[in-house]
């Protein structure tokens, strides 16, 4: 048996490596995705006041602060047992839309489009955002400005871009100013135009990657996420829906706060990332693997697969075309990229509706209350998928217990299965070419995982691939700086 290690995986958030095991004939026998960063954050929260949790959890990560902020504030709402002022709810939703825009823009334009536009087999010196700038400078600029637009929505509400301590249990600290609304509306058409440019480009490129579409996580699975009670696309409230690969609704209108009834979490000795699974389809006496029936996917692709429609005209038109191309339920994780672009469009349309709502500048944005429940669960759709914050507090509102299921965790089993599928398709023997390994990495990047949530930025991340013989002897090593 030979073993190939990709450590660390580049252009994802956090620390991870991929191990690929070859048999004696050089065929891929198995492949695994490991997360090597330990978070330990849940224990850190114990003893903190409930009111501090949104700003504290927002600081766990430079990528997903808004997602944690909103899920945490929602858990706080449950504990206070309050009903939010309508404007507070709209403002929180607007901020989440800004988060979806900025996060998806970064993923598509800066992390993944070099693969599509410059080719998976192009040299690593060129296949990055700098190569993209040389080849497509206008597109690169547009990508930066689109991300900036999402950040501006967040800044207009939260006051600072990275860790806005703005959402609190019971509402938000401040409303949107009239000037802020005007500025965001003025910039919106350019953001929409850029999204159409990217969609047009990606649709043209799609036919050039049949092998990648066929092997980048192309397998039947469940898809899970929030929808409105009417079955429309949802990103902040609503109910949980689970859809099968054939489009059948497996479960619908599940109360998100009862997530422990339908989501289990398995641990693995080889990764710090837990493996959530859908409990009703699992024999929980058996080991959870990437072949388990309880495997499900979350995130942009899942959200489009589970909803009946988006509910806004431009995104619905794109969703119809998407489904005409790939089927009612898209099974290949390669389509996560496509789904991200449709979600950016949906987010821009939804943001425009909020910004034109006369109530959006109301300053009645916070309900005050004391501790009225011992436990609260907050659920929201982060750009990467469904995010759960589950808090238990004492009578003074001090945190006794925290459980968080981060969006990336839900996709752990699917990412493992994806790595194995790509490795089997592209790798044979010890003559490992750069393009083969980049495809394995790109399979993970399709999910846009955020593994760090507290990791120090380490700057440049080299790619180290080691191939070992069955006896553990190093046969070959490739290092990419």
């Amino acid at each position: 048996m030979k073993r190939i290690t990709i450590d660390p995986v580049t252009r994802i958030e956090g620390h991870a490596k991929i191990s690929i095991f070859l048999d004696d004939d050089g065929n891929v026998n198995d492949a695994r995705f490991h997360v090597t960063e330990f978070r330990g954050f849940e224990a850190f929260c114990v003893g903190r006041p409930l009111w501090e949790m949104p700003s504290l959890t927002a600081r766990t990560c430079g990528i997903c602060p808004v997602s944690h902020l909103l899920a945490s504030a929602k858990a706080g709402d449950e504990i206070l047992a309050v009903k939010l002022p309508p404007t507070a709810l709209k403002l929180r939703r607007l901020m989440n839309l800004g988060q979806i825009i900025q996060s998806h823009a970064l993923s598509f334009f800066h992390l993944s489009s070099p693969d599509f536009l410059l080719g998976f087999d192009s040299t690593p010196e060129k296949r990055n955002v700098f190569g993209l700038m040389e080849a497509e400078p206008e597109l690169a600029k547009r990508g930066i400005r689109l991300r900036k637009y999402g950040q501006e929505i967040i800044a207009a509400l939260g006051g600072q871009k990275i860790h806005p301590a703005w959402a609190v249990p019971g509402g938000v600290r401040e409303g949107l100013s009239e000037e802020g609304r005007k500025i965001l509306l003025e910039s919106l058409p350019e953001a929409r135009e850029t999204t159409f440019v990217a969609l047009g480009l990606f649709k043209k490129l799609l036919d050039a990657f049949p092998r990648e579409v066929a092997s980048f996580g192309n397998f039947p699975s469940l898809f899970l996420g929030l929808v409105t009670p009417e079955g429309l696309w949802e990103h902040h409230d609503g109910v949980i829906r689970v859809v099968a690969a054939n489009g059948a609704i497996v479960a619908d209108k599940l109360d998100p706060t009862t997530y422990l009834d339908f989501i289990g979490e398995a641990s693995s000795g080889s990764s710090y990332l837990k493996s959530p699974y859908y409990r009703p389809l699992m024999d929980e006496t058996q080991t959870v693997t990437s072949d388990s029936a309880g495997l499900y996917r979350v995130g942009p692709l899942a959200r489009l697969n589970i909803c009946d429609r988006v509910g806004t005209p431009l995104a619905d038109k794109e969703l119809t075309e998407f489904r005409n191309r790939v089927g009612r339920v898209a099974l290949s994780s390669f389509y996560f990229h496509y789904a991200r672009l449709i979600e950016i469009l949906a987010a821009i349309e939804a943001a425009e509706l909020h910004l034109n709502d006369p109530d959006i500048t109301s300053q009645r944005v916070r309900a005050e209350a004391g501790i009225n429940r011992e436990r609260g669960v907050g659920v929201s759709e982060a750009p990467r998928g469904t995010l759960f914050h589950d808090y238990t507090v004492d009578e003074n509102g001090l945190i006794k217990k925290v459980n968080m299921i981060i969006a990336t965790g839900h996709n752990n089993l699917a990412m493992n299965k994806t790595v194995k599928q790509i490795a089997k398709e592209f790798i044979q023997g010890s003559d490992i070419q750069e393009g083969m390994l980049n495809r394995v990495e790109a399979g993970i990047r399709a999910y846009d995982p955020c593994l760090s949530c507290s990791t120090h930025a380490i700057g440049q991340m080299p790619l180290d691939i080691k191939i070992f013989s069955q006896q553990g002897e190093l046969v070959k090593e490739l290092v990419r700086d």
Partner: protein
Amino acid sequence: MSNLLVIGYGNPLRGDDAVGQVVARVLSDWYLPNVKVLSLHQLAPELADDLAEVGTVYFIDACMDRTLEHPRVAEIQSGNSTVNVSHFSSPQDLLVLAKQLYDCEPRAYLIEIPAESFEINEGLSAKARKGVKEVLEYLRGVLANNQVVKQITMPEKFPQDL
């Protein structure tokens, strides 16, 4: 428009990794005219826009080399970066972006502050606090030389709670 940009960055829940943000928060309280101060978890590509609008930029980060005893200041240049950009960027990455996208090349310096611990924790070690103070003294001199600010009062205490 600001002619000087200061970006302090790091994870405020990772012990001494917060030093860049601590410096930035103190500088923000000085309300310096013509100086834009950003306190960030990490560097991201859209900052290239901000770099394109200033003549000089200071990046302030924690130093992972634990043998460093005093802050280190080095002028940095964009060069030919070929790194794989992640969700975060390096100062050099941002300089490349600013140059290639906007044909702007601000003078850039990286200030690294000695650090001891990057474990999950709030608050700075004594070594990091000393480094923060030294950097603030240094920046006071730089800003005075730039004739941006005539007089700056050093704070008695540094913010721990970010």
